[in-house]
Symmetry: C2
Subunit: 193 residues, 2 copies
Amino acid sequence: MAVRTRRGEPLSLDEIHATALRLIDAGGAEALSMRKLAAELDVNPMSLYHHVENKTALLAGVCGLAISQLRLPPDDGRPWQEQLRALAHAYRSLAQAHPRLWAYVHEHPEVVDRKEGMGAVLRRILHAAGVPERDVEATSEILYAFVTGFVYAETRDHLGEHPGAEDVDRSYEIAIRLILAGLASGEAFDTQP
Amino acid sequence: MAVRTRRGEPLSLDEIHATALRLIDAGGAEALSMRKLAAELDVNPMSLYHHVENKTALLAGVCGLAISQLRLPPDDGRPWQEQLRALAHAYRSLAQAHPRLWAYVHEHPEVVDRKEGMGAVLRRILHAAGVPERDVEATSEILYAFVTGFVYAETRDHLGEHPGAEDVDRSYEIAIRLILAGLASGEAFDTQP
DNA sequence: AGCTCCAGCCATACGCTGTATGGATACGCT
DNA sequence: AGCGTATCCATACAGCGTATGGCTGGAGCT
C-alpha cells in the first residue's frame, strides 16, 4: 500500500491542506498553484490528485477547515443585541485569522453553506429581536451581506497598510451599532401586515 | 500610418473596450482572454497591446467605462433619506446593468476611486443626516461596504437562479430601511464627545 | 523624388497554469 | 506465488499573458 516516496512519509490530506493554507496565507489564493504546492511538499504535482479531486476541491477543503474553527455563540439567556455582537465577532475573528483565505471565501461564497450553522443562529437571534417571521430569512441574508461586505473591505485594507487598529475597531463598533439600532427600531418591516 | 489589416478598419480603443465588455457580460471576467478577445476582433492577439498596456489595464478601462455611467444624484433640497436612497439606487442599477463585470469590480476595488464622485456625495449626505464630523469618513466607508456587500450577493444569486424579482426588491427595501433607521437613531456615534 | 520615421500589426517563443493519461512501485491479502 | 490496490511519477496537451523583434506602408520633410 505504501510506495517509496522521494520524501519520508507518504502524503496525507491534512498535510496538503495545512501547507496549502500556509501558501495562501503567504501569497493569497491566486498564488497557490498545484505545482508550487507539490514542490513545497517535495512531491510530484500529479501525486496531489490522489488525495484531492482538483484544485477547486482542494480550496474548498481548506476553506471548510477554516470555517470549522468558527465557534458559534450558544443560546444563553443574554439579550439578542449581545448575541448578535458575539456572532459578528466570531465571524470577524475568523476572517482576521486568515485574511487572504477569506478573500477567496468572499469571492466564492458557494464553499460556505449558509443554511448550516451560522445561518440558523442568525435566524434565531433575529427572531428574538422581534423581526416578523416572514422577514427573518431575508433579513438574515441582508445582515450576512452587510457583515461580509464590511469584513471583506476591512481585511483588504488591512493587507495594504496598517492605518492604526484603533480607527478600525471604532469603525467596527459604529457598523455594529448601526445594525443594532436599525433592527431595534423596527421601522424596516412595516410595509404590509 | 495605417497598415493593411486583415480586417477592414484598424483597431480602436473604444472597439476593444466594447467587445471586451460584451465578452465579460457573456461569460464573466475570468472567461475573457486576450486571445479570445483578439479572435472576436479578427486580429492578432499581440495587436491589442498597441492600444492597451496589459490585461489589467484593459479591465480597468472597461470598469471605468461602466462606472462613468453612474449618474450621481444632485444636491437638491430633498431630505437626506431620499438622497441616500437615490444614491444607493444609482449604484445598484449600475451593478444590475453588467452583473458579471460588477463581480470583477467587487473583487478588485482598486479600479474605483472611492475618494471621487460617489464618496463625496455620500459624505455630504451623511453630514446632512447629522452624523458627527469625526465619524463621517468611517461611516461612509461602512455604508459603502454594506451596499456593495448587499449588491454583490444580490447580483451573484441573480446570476444563478431567478427567485422572483418581488422578493429581491422587498429585500432591498428592508436593507435600505435598516440603514436609514440605524442612521436616524443616532445611537451609533455616542461613545465619547 | 527620395528619404526617414514610426504607428500599427503580426509571428514566434517562453514560462506558467490545471490536469488527462498511463506506467511504475511496493505493500497486504489470499 | 501471485494478485489487487494504493500511491506516486513522467509525459503531454491546451490554454494563458506577454517579451521580443520584424514587417509594412503612409506621413512629413528635404
